[in-house]
Symmetry: C2
Subunit: 272 residues, 2 copies
């Protein structure tokens, strides 16, 4: 999907919500465990109930890998279901990959070609030649970790290299890489005030903002500093939506939560 198509979807649905599919076999309603593929059943119900309120889904790959072969199968079924039933939905593989060139190329192949995701999250520590193999793909986005939502972000990301923090160095440097127009950046909602600084470096690029919801970030703050006239934001919520209820009405309750976030987003978009 192109950036323009994504933006069109956002204005059409009045939503820049991304729902994180951090589907944990130990947290889904127990009655699902008797199904053939409980993880896919859960995802399907969540997707069917919430797709009108969001523009993107973001499976968190760790939760699928933790189940081995069956998890990988559930992941593939989920992405195939999205492609066939809701082709207008943008998909993000939250994988945080990154390795030497020939290996990153393999990861890109896995997530862009084999699974057909529109985008993938990538870690910047190994530099240019670890990221460019992802950037090579046309109409795919590479979402580089810049300033993450967790406490550990302060260990290295906010440390100064010369006169600027590492996360700024990462963003600035990445703009010099081949096909850098395919870049988006991860910026945690728990650090919304940093968005002002980040927008000075990347006034246009999309930012994927996790941390609203269970991690405590504020949507209003994120919009205040992060929204651009072409939106430029995908705000993710995972646990607060998909685990809003553990009863048989979990999908319905998830939809109500998603709708509530979407309503706030519609208000923010109306201000543009």
């Amino acid at each position: 999907m192109t950036t323009q198509e994504l933006t069109e979807q956002i204005f059409k649905k009045k939503s820049f919500l991304c729902i994180g599919l951090d589907t944990d076999i130990d947290r889904i309603p127990t009655y699902l465990l008797s199904e053939k593929d409980p993880v896919f059943s859960f995802n399907k119900a969540i997707i069917d109930a919430t797709h009108s309120y969001c523009v993107a889904y973001k499976p968190n790959i760790a939760f699928y890998e933790a189940l081995g072969v069956s998890g990988w199968k559930a992941l593939k079924k989920t992405i195939e279901y999205l492609h066939s039933e809701y082709p207008e939905i943008y998909t993000i593989a939250d994988a945080k990959r990154g390795d030497i060139g020939n290996t990153s190329k393999m990861y890109a192949k896995a997530f862009f070609d084999d699974l057909g995701f529109d985008s993938i999250t990538v870690a910047p520590y190994m530099g240019k030649d670890s990221v460019e193999p992802f950037l090579d793909f046309t109409n795919k986005h590479t979402i580089l970790l810049a300033l993450t939502s967790n406490e550990g972000a302060f260990d290295f990301q906010t440390k100064k290299i010369g006169d600027q923090e590492l996360y700024k160095e990462v963003i600035k440097t990445s703009r010099t890489w081949n096909n850098s127009e395919n870049l988006m950046y991860v910026v945690g909602a728990t650090k919304a005030e940093y968005l002002r600084e980040i927008r000075k470096i990347v006034p246009e690029n999309f930012l994927l903002v996790p941390g609203v919801g269970a991690q405590g970030g504020s949507l209003e703050e994120v919009c205040k500093y992060g929204l651009t006239k072409n939106v430029g934001l995908l705000v993710n919520s995972s646990r607060k939506i998909i685990y809003a209820s553990d009863s048989s009405n979990y999908a319905e309750i998830a939809a109500a939560m998603a709708e509530s976030v979407q309503n706030q987003m519609a208000d923010e978009l109306a201000k543009l």
Copy 2:
């Protein structure tokens, strides 16, 4: 496996060679493609032929993920084969994972519990709470990226934070984390001269050193600066061994290459 058990194996086999199983379906001998599981068949033959000359195998997870479900099956079969036939072998999941706490916990579960690897490579960008879930596991090692073998290592890793480079900051900071005795570090053989500096910070920890072989690093240089009296080194070679021949005698040729490296290692160990 404990660090002590690994060291005992190294002295017993007179080898600190790790063989990287970067098994690429496009590079293995074409006649294997008619087998039911070509990737596992290739790995099995390589392992059977080379296990006397090495102490560890390191599947590069990207190469398996690129094949989807069948790749994950081949990975599982490979690790199960190692556990059942060669339980004295140390296993490394070259995965370069790292995410917020609850997600890193899932990755740890995937690689330590489900697949039963002895260790996993982890990226440090997201800091303490992204790494500690891996360190929680008893008798498992977390191999943190410090200074990688690729050109992109100079983009951020060697940039100075205050008066020291980022990779040193990463190593020093990681020593303050819970269960830091379970840490090893990735240091590229292509940057052997840096090992002198690194040994000042971590005189004892094991270092996993990729980049000897196809990437051009020198074993002699690595030993000169990196060897400790308890060895403290695992030197990896992937492509130069497993793709030494693309004929039906590939396993035999791989064994000859591995033996040649092992011979050099025996000489280095004799100097201790």
